[in-house]
């Protein structure tokens, strides 16, 4: 068994979708390939699906009297849950987060259905070396209830009334439109990305830690206007990216590029073995997190711009330098 198998391939999937249709034209095949497959598939896939005079096609479609194409198979292809897929689901049933999605009786029944399936992996095969220890309590019933309310509202575009404790320890209540649920593997926490509403109109973009929610009420009102997740992320992105000089010292380039792989970035200049200049775009509300991560690299990287970001680094370093000098080692 292997996940890198042709049964999971794009070509098989596109062929399956085409064979589900009782009748299809060559034009529709081209369109479907363009939409569902890789960029260059249009050069390779159509001639394997559309009957060719030299019989070099796969023989899965034949021409009918109207000039269109019909599947050679008698029934619509069926998608079977493979052994690997069942094993993977079985492994997930031991993850505490599964209870956010499945009610207890559903979980019991699914476990019974998969009782003869070997799990794909067990949680003890893995160790997170630096995950924070104060993650959300996924076993907490109120947490599970809140999570499901949010999930349902997200799917139906329902407006929710939420009361939560903010990061600054203030109780906040308001109406919110859920956009996405964010999970952080580092924090082991879920947060709700949402727009807050004022007088029925989108007021501003917000983030609510699900673990800090005290109460959620359904409003049974849906937000009917278009809301854009792209717009939400765009609003949260910094105006000026941070520019960093990365040296080769202590394998800094490799460490830096790996650690900051999740960020949108651009490498401006580099020479083969020396320094390179990188621009990183970030969520402006996560600025402090980015700053402390950059500082942990020490002198092998340097924050160049923007001036206010560099200034924050400078202030912390000066404070640190002064502290060490004041408490000089014997």
């Amino acid at each position: 068994m292997n996940i890198f198998h042709e049964i999971y391939s794009t070509y098989f999937r596109v062929a399956s979708e085409i064979l589900k249709l009782p009748h299809i034209t060559e034009k529709s095949i081209h369109k479907m390939i363009e939409k569902e497959s890789f960029r260059d598939s249009a050069l390779f896939l159509p001639q394997k699906l559309i009957p060719q005079n030299d019989c070099s096609d796969w023989g899965l479609l034949k021409k009918d009297s109207s000039g269109g194409l019909v599947p050679i198979i008698k029934n619509k292809p069926i998608e079977i849950l493979t052994e690997i897929q069942k094993q993977w689901i079985k492994s997930k049933l031991d993850d505490p987060k599964i209870k956010l999605f499945l009610e207890n009786d559903t979980l019991v029944s699914l476990k019974k259905r998969l009782e003869n399936v070997k799990p794909f992996y067990r949680s003890e095969h893995f160790r997170y070396t630096d995950r924070f220890s104060d993650g959300d309590d996924f076993r907490d019933e109120l947490y599970q209830k809140n999570f499901r309310k949010i999930l349902n509202a997200l799917k139906s575009h329902e407006i929710l009334e939420i009361t939560f404790i903010s990061g600054r320890n203030k109780r906040i209540s308001g109406k919110y439109i859920p956009l996405k649920i964010q999970y952080s593997a580092k924090n082991d926490r879920f947060r709700l990305f949402c727009f807050s509403l004022k007088d029925g109109e989108v007021f501003h973009s917000g983030v609510i830690n699900i673990g800090r929610i005290e109460r959620i009420e359904n409003t049974n009102e849906n937000y009917e206007k278009d809301i854009s997740t792209d717009e939400y992320f765009r609003k949260r992105k910094c105006i000026n990216p941070v520019t960093i000089c990365v040296t080769e010292e202590r394998n800094a380039k490799e460490r830096f590029f790996m650690e900051f792989a999740p960020y949108e970035k651009c490498t401006l200049s580099d020479s083969e073995d020396e320094k390179c200049i990188v621009k990183i775009w970030y969520d402006y509300q996560e600025e402090t997190e980015l700053l402390i991560r950059l500082l942990s690299f020490g002198p092998v990287i340097e924050i160049l711009e923007p001036p206010e970001f560099r200034c924050q680094a400078k202030e912390r370093i000066k404070r640190q330098y002064d502290l060490l000098n004041k408490n000089r080692r014997p």
């Binding site: 049964i7 999971y8 292809p77 070396t129 630096d130 992320f233 000066k318 502290l323 000098n325």
Partner: protein
């Protein structure tokens, strides 16, 4: 480009190229000296075909740089999963896939002879019996078909676990798969279920999301299987020159270590040749081969479990435990968030309040350098650092001086 195919037979080479394009994005054509420039051109073209808009081009003095750029905190599906959807196959593979599923469609149990005859009759295609037998055997292993006996003959029927029915039967399962398909630990498998059900994750986004980890999912099952069976493994690395340990080492695998902050993942194992635990970067591993059963597995695992108490990150150093003591300043009235940070990030360290606004953290670990890397994230709040590893501590003090001077201060 004659003979170019966007499909690939093996994942190894492609993995290495995607990683270089995605992680670094600063290499030019001549930097890829592993094989030939023709290979580079083919791999680049495939990557462009699979990842489309995520591929970016920049000019540099050394030539054109190709990179895969993704703000992974905002995407709903890991774009690198597409690489897994590119396995090459033969014409017979795809024909038999649809023909076999079609002849078994009504749930009936058929013998090999009946299946061969039905395929011939229904689709006017004649296949070698052995070819169909092999395909049936393969599909039994994959779980698409179940096998049984009809009299003395083997018979085959389609599995009753149909994707859509399965998701329909268990309320909430589809949402759970949407979530887990974007998390570590083989999200690619969950994504394959969504693809079969024509679903997409439209609910979740991931923070601190190292999408490149999926490229390692191809080798981890072999490691997990070896752990389960308490067997040795041999590790073949991409870049042996970067590894201190020789290529093709005999290793007794213990656990997969994952850093959610640095993005690195490792297989940690015991190396009998040097009698110590060692971590190997998963992204540098080309392939893993399972060896014989290790008779001493349980006793080694017991020692490993004990040693974990002194492993701050992934390093087991020389096996000698070093103590590092750090005193932090945090204003208890208005900087509780700093104290909270210390509590949740200290791992095996012991945190004590020693005076007003002063907190002492004592860490006993195999590698003080790992501790100091983390300590530097508290720059601006460290009163003092003392401990056994003078070199690591001196480096910290020197680093602060260097940074002070780098940012415009005058070094004293």
């Amino acid at each position: 480009m004659g003979g170019f195919s966007e499909l690939i037979k093996s994942f190894d080479k492609t993995r290495d190229y995607i990683r270089d394009f995605f992680i670094y994005g600063l290499k030019v054509r001549n930097d890829f000296d592993r094989k030939s420039l023709r290979t580079y051109d083919d791999e680049k073209r495939r990557i462009e075909s699979w990842f489309g808009d995520y591929v970016k081009y920049d000019r540099s003095e050394r030539g054109q740089k190709v990179s895969i750029t993704v703000d992974s905190g905002t995407v709903s599906e890991n774009p690198l999963y597409k690489a897994y959807r590119s396995k090459s196959f033969t014409d017979n593979d795809i024909k038999l896939h649809f023909f076999i599923i079609d002849v078994l469609h009504n749930g009936e149990s058929l013998t090999l002879k009946e299946i061969v005859s039905d395929i011939d009759k229904n689709y006017n295609e004649i296949f070698d019996v052995q070819t169909i037998r092999n395909k049936l055997k393969e599909y039994v292993k994959e779980g698409i078909i179940t096998s049984g006996k009809k009299g003395k003959a083997s018979c085959f029927r389609l599995s009753t676990d149909r994707v859509n029915e399965f998701l329909h039967d268990y309320d909430g399962l589809a949402d759970a798969i949407k979530f887990f398909s974007e998390t570590q630990k083989f999200g690619i498998v969950g994504n394959s279920i969504l693809e079969s059900a024509r679903l997409k994750n439209n609910l979740f986004v991931m923070k601190h999301n190292y999408i490149v980890h999926t490229l390692e999912d191809i080798i981890i099952p072999e490691i997990i299987s070896a752990i389960e069976q308490k067997k040795y493994i041999s590790i073949i690395s991409f870049k042996a020159k970067n590894n201190k340990i020789n290529n093709n080492n005999q290793v007794i695998p213990m656990k997969i270590f994952s850093s959610v902050q640095t993005g690195r993942r490792y297989i940690v194992g015991y190396i009998p040749a040097v009698k110590c635990f060692h971590s190997f970067r998963l992204d540098f591993i080309k392939s893993v081969r399972t060896g014989d059963i290790c008779d001493e597995y349980d006793s080694i695992y017991e020692k490993f479990s004990h040693d974990l108490n002194y492993c701050f990150g992934v390093s087991f150093g020389s096996g000698k435990i070093e103590t590092t003591v750090i005193v932090f300043f945090a204003d208890e009235k208005c900087e509780k968030f700093v104290i909270d940070r210390l509590k949740r990030e200290k791992r095996n360290g012991v945190l004590e309040k020693i005076d007003d606004n002063l907190f002492r953290l004592t860490v006993k670990a195999f590698d003080s350098f790992e501790v100091m890397q983390w300590v530097k994230s508290f720059t601006g709040r460290i009163i003092s650092v003392t401990g056994d590893n003078k070199y690591a501590i001196d480096r910290f003090y020197n680093d602060i001086s260097k940074m002070y001077s780098m940012y415009g201060g005058e070094e004293q």
